[in-house]
């Protein structure tokens, strides 16, 4: 019998990034008791790393913008395998969620007439991202945190959930350890909201921190929920590549949104040479037009650097592979061309001051970690594992999974982004769908009786989690994690092939066997070795999901690029999602499922932005 304390709430939220905080605030405002459990200290979640902005059709900068255009942009970016209902709700409700942040104390950058300023970003037709310099995520999380602490939410910091508990079919609670002492806590609840973020730590080069080990994905999967779209992992085109210690750290898309240009070692602006057919009507014909777009000229179209992330990342990989990369295996990103062009038009333009004001945190990051001044020198950038489009399958309106009482929102849930997420749509997704998860979880908690905790579930989970202390083997958790990251990077990365992924599946079996023998030393108090050992189960689970999803989808779409199937195959894969669930034998099973037909109103919105033509996927 495990020794544990119990905390009981109507709703437990696991994860305190933007989605978890927004869900907790909403649930609490609905009058139920809410516990917020987070792996780190409050306010440190990866939302702080979101730099560019929050996408919402406020139409403050360009009055032609509205939810239908945002919806169409999101669907096009996701290559039409998105959950269209989520994309609709997201586009419709994002403006209200942004305005609400201002009422809670956020201080956004302003337009000359005193409204919330919006900036350009990849895949968005109009300047749409509400932002604060390049530290928007920090503003968002701090605003929610500072609002949330006055709402009567109980916050449990530095607690990691290792298992969800069930009472019959329903969710009933979660078992967590605290980092400080390694003691067990049972969180008893009527409803649980997962908001644990991503899976970036399955890869070697990533913009994600140690926390992003696919916890929510795996917790949900282990209790019978379905995962969807797991093959779609977003590699952000611009991470730092040098020096080695910062490889993978994000360089915001805002750099390109503010006029940044990508060049190969020959100095060629290679993005002009590869513009996909369906984006040609929206892309600038030449440098001059692209720069005018950056300045807000409504007649101009966007520069090719602002094509979607999947495409830009692949172009960079191609340049590097074909020998035209920068010295450390990336390409160059520079602001000088724009500055020179703008300087000619606008006397008294001070490039150094301009960039420090527009991109303060990037300036700081390159100055201190990369030892270079981005106002004067070119940056070296390359793709980095950034965001998981795939995740827990949930109802579009309520965010509830197929397990009664189990909700998910934010990055660990899936549907809204389809095959590729547009920059800026994550922060708005957190707010819109986070709020919905909180609202519906509270509703569910009010409508349903209390649950019972079954101690045998607690005992078996605790026993499993403590086993690594009792083993003697030479399997070091850090080594297993590093080997997994190397393998996923090499075999299931940006460019994928059948035989390599089959090898990855074999590799995963070997790594699972090693993880089953992992040993940790020391005691349970704040022991990173132990924490890493427990995270392995989650990383291995999501890695398997990514791999089998990528094998099944024999086509290239959005973030999934198959070297052996380099084209889109709309007939076979244009109308389906991959669905993963645990089979009766405990093994992972995958199937394809048809996407429901889109209502006419939404088809019209898509067509209006696609030259009057309905994309094949929607026919």
């Amino acid at each position: 019998m495990a020794d544990y304390q119990t905390h009981e709430h109507d709703v437990i939220v696991i994860g305190a990034g933007g989605a978890g905080l927004r869900a907790a605030i909403e649930a609490s405002a609905s009058g139920v008791s809410v516990g917020l459990v987070c792996k780190s200290l409050l306010g440190k979640a990866h939302t702080v790393m979101a730099e560019g902005g929050i996408a919402a059709a406020l139409a403050n900068v360009d009055d032609r913008d509205n939810w239908k255009v945002h919806f169409a942009d999101t669907m096009r970016g996701g290559q039409y395998v998105n959950n269209w209902r989520m994309a609709q709700l997201h586009a419709q409700e994002a403006p209200a969620r942004v305005r609400e942040l201002e009422a809670w104390g956020a201080v956004f950058d302003r337009t000359p007439d005193g409204k919330i300023l919006q900036r350009n970003f990849g895949g968005h037709k109009y300047p749409r991202l509400a932002h604060v310099g390049d530290r928007t995520g920090l503003e968002l999380i701090r605003t929610l945190q500072d609002h949330g602490i006055h709402q009567g939410i109980s916050v449990y910091m530095e607690r990691t959930v290792v298992r969800l508990l069930k009472d019959g079919d329903r969710i009933s609670g979660a078992l967590a350890y605290d980092r400080e002492r390694g003691r067990w806590t049972v969180f008893k609840a009527k409803a649980i909201i997962l908001a644990t973020g991503g899976i970036g730590k399955a890869y070697k080069i990533t913009s994600n921190s140690w926390e992003y080990t696919g916890d929510g994905h795996t917790l949900a999967y282990d209790v019978g929920a379905e995962l969807i779209d797991m093959e779609f992992v977003q590699f952000h085109p611009t991470g730092m590549v040098w020096p080695p210690s910062v490889r993978g750290i994000l360089v915001t898309e805002g750099v390109r949104g503010e006029g940044g240009v990508l060049r190969n070692k020959e100095g060629k602006r290679f993005m002009f040479g590869d513009i996909p057919e369906n984006y040609k009507p929206q892309t600038a014909a030449d440098e001059e037009e692209g720069f005018r777009y950056v300045l807000g000229d409504k007649e101009a179209r966007r520069p090719p650097e602002l094509l979607t992330r999947d495409h830009v990342a692949r172009c960079i990989v191609r340049e590097v592979k074909e020998g035209r990369g920068s010295p450390h295996g990336g390409v160059f990103l520079e602001l000088q061309t724009f500055a020179e062009w703008f300087g000619k038009k606008s006397k008294g333009f001070n490039a150094a001051e301009h960039w420090k004001k527009k991109l303060p945190s990037m300036y700081h990051q390159f100055k201190e970690l990369g030892g270079l001044d981005l106002t004067k020198e070119s940056m070296e950038v390359g793709p980095t594992t950034h965001y998981m489009m795939g995740g827990v399958r949930v109802d579009s309106d309520s965010q509830m999974s197929r397990i009664p009482g189990l909700f998910a929102c934010g990055e660990c849930a899936a549907g809204i982004n389809g095959a590729n997420r547009l920059g800026g749509n994550s922060l708005s997704d957190l707010l819109v769908l986070g709020k919905r998860a909180g609202e519906y979880a509270a509703q569910y908690a009010k409508a349903n009786p209390a649950t019972t905790i079954h101690t045998e579930q607690v005992d078996s989970a605790a026993k499993w989690a403590l086993a690594p202390f009792d083993r003697t083997s030479d399997e070091n958790p850090f080594k297993i994690q590093a080997d997994l990251q190397d393998m996923m990077q090499d075999l299931v990365g940006i460019v994928r092939k059948e035989d390599e992924m089959q090898r990855a599946l074999e590799g995963l079996e070997k790594l699972k066997a090693r993880a089953a023998k992992v040993q940790v030393t020391g005691n349970r108090e704040y022991n990173p070795g132990w924490h890493t050992a427990l995270d392995l189960h989650n990383l291995l689970t999501v890695s398997e999901g990514i791999t089998i999803g990528a094998i099944l989808r024999k086509e290239s779409r959005g973030a999934q690029f198959r070297d052996d199937y380099p084209k889109k195959d709309n007939a076979k894969f244009g109308k389906v999602n991959s669905i993963i669930a645990k089979g009766p034998d405990g093994k992972m099973q995958i199937r394809l499922e048809e996407i429901p037909a889109m209502p006419q109103e939404l088809k019209d919105a898509v067509m209006a932005e696609a030259g009057g033509v309905l994309p094949d996927e929607l026919k």
Partner: protein, 254 residues
């Protein structure tokens, strides 16, 4: 590649000792990289907090050769490597284990500060008009990543342990961000004087020096707040007027 010795504080609240570890260094490496290397190869139970590894989350605060710093932003090539690099936890907070301290006091302090209270929206759609010049001031303070290095270095907390009477630089910055938000209508001035101990600050600017976000804590946040306290409580002319009219700060402005 060179080998560098790190002298790391190990242990918990009851017992602390320094242990030496070596790490192989490479170009651009920061102290946090070295600690990760030590964790992976020599001391898997070495406790330290970290998240973003890019100076944006404020988790990996520690004292490096006696100076409060973020471990992720401290490059080894900026440190002398002929002697061991000493890494200790922040001293102003109780030790949990190794480099991890109990910073929960900060979270309790923040809860006591009156929350943001905006004036009525200017527009029918619930939005406000705010000019960038007016946003600039609070935006500087809102860059704060809550690393608590300013709290760590402040002698009122570090040496005099006035945690019960003094909220520390971080929360003066927080209060300044609220007070200088053009939409805010709350009054926190008497709290600053009576509860938050702003008078204890004797503007030595140690906090400003260690701030990894380069917020001018003393000049832009603390001194203006001190001035507001003086204006409200110690200005003899105002005192007289207040006796007659009793105007409240923000209402009279609004």
């Amino acid at each position: 590649m060179a080998t560098v010795t790190f002298r790391v504080s190990r242990g918990d609240a009851t017992k602390t000792e320094f242990k030496d570890y070596t790490a192989e260094t490479g170009e651009g490496m920061v102290v946090l990289d070295a600690l990760h290397q030590i964790q992976a190869t020599q001391a898997p139970d070495l406790a330290c907090r970290w998240n973003c590894k890019a100076g944006k989350c404020g988790s990996c605060s520690a004292e490096i050769n006696g100076v409060p710093k973020l471990m992720c932003m401290t490059r080894l090539d900026d440190l002398p490597t002929d002697a061991p690099i000493i890494v200790e936890p922040m001293q102003a907070f109780p030790k949990v284990k190794d480099l991890v301290t109990d910073v929960s006091w900060n979270y309790e302090v923040k809860k006591k500060i009156k929350k943001f209270k905006p004036r009525k929206p200017d527009n029918a759609d619930g939005t406000w008009k705010m000019m960038q010049e007016d946003a600039d001031r609070p935006q500087e303070f809102r860059k704060c990543i809550e690393c608590f290095l300013c709290q760590d270095v402040c002698h009122v907390l570090r040496d005099h342990h006035k945690h019960d009477e003094f909220i520390g630089p971080r929360f003066f910055v927080y209060t300044a961000a609220l007070e200088m938000n053009p939409l805010d209508t709350e009054d926190r001035i008497s709290d600053l004087k009576n509860r938050d101990g702003i008078g204890y600050c004797n503007i030595t600017k140690c906090c400003t020096k260690v701030c990894p976000e380069h917020i001018t804590i003393t000049d832009n946040a603390i001194i203006p707040l001190k001035e507001r306290v003086v204006d409200e409580f110690y200005d003899p002319v105002l005192k007289l007027i207040q006796l007659v009219f009793r105007p409240r700060k923000k209402e009279s402005e609004a």
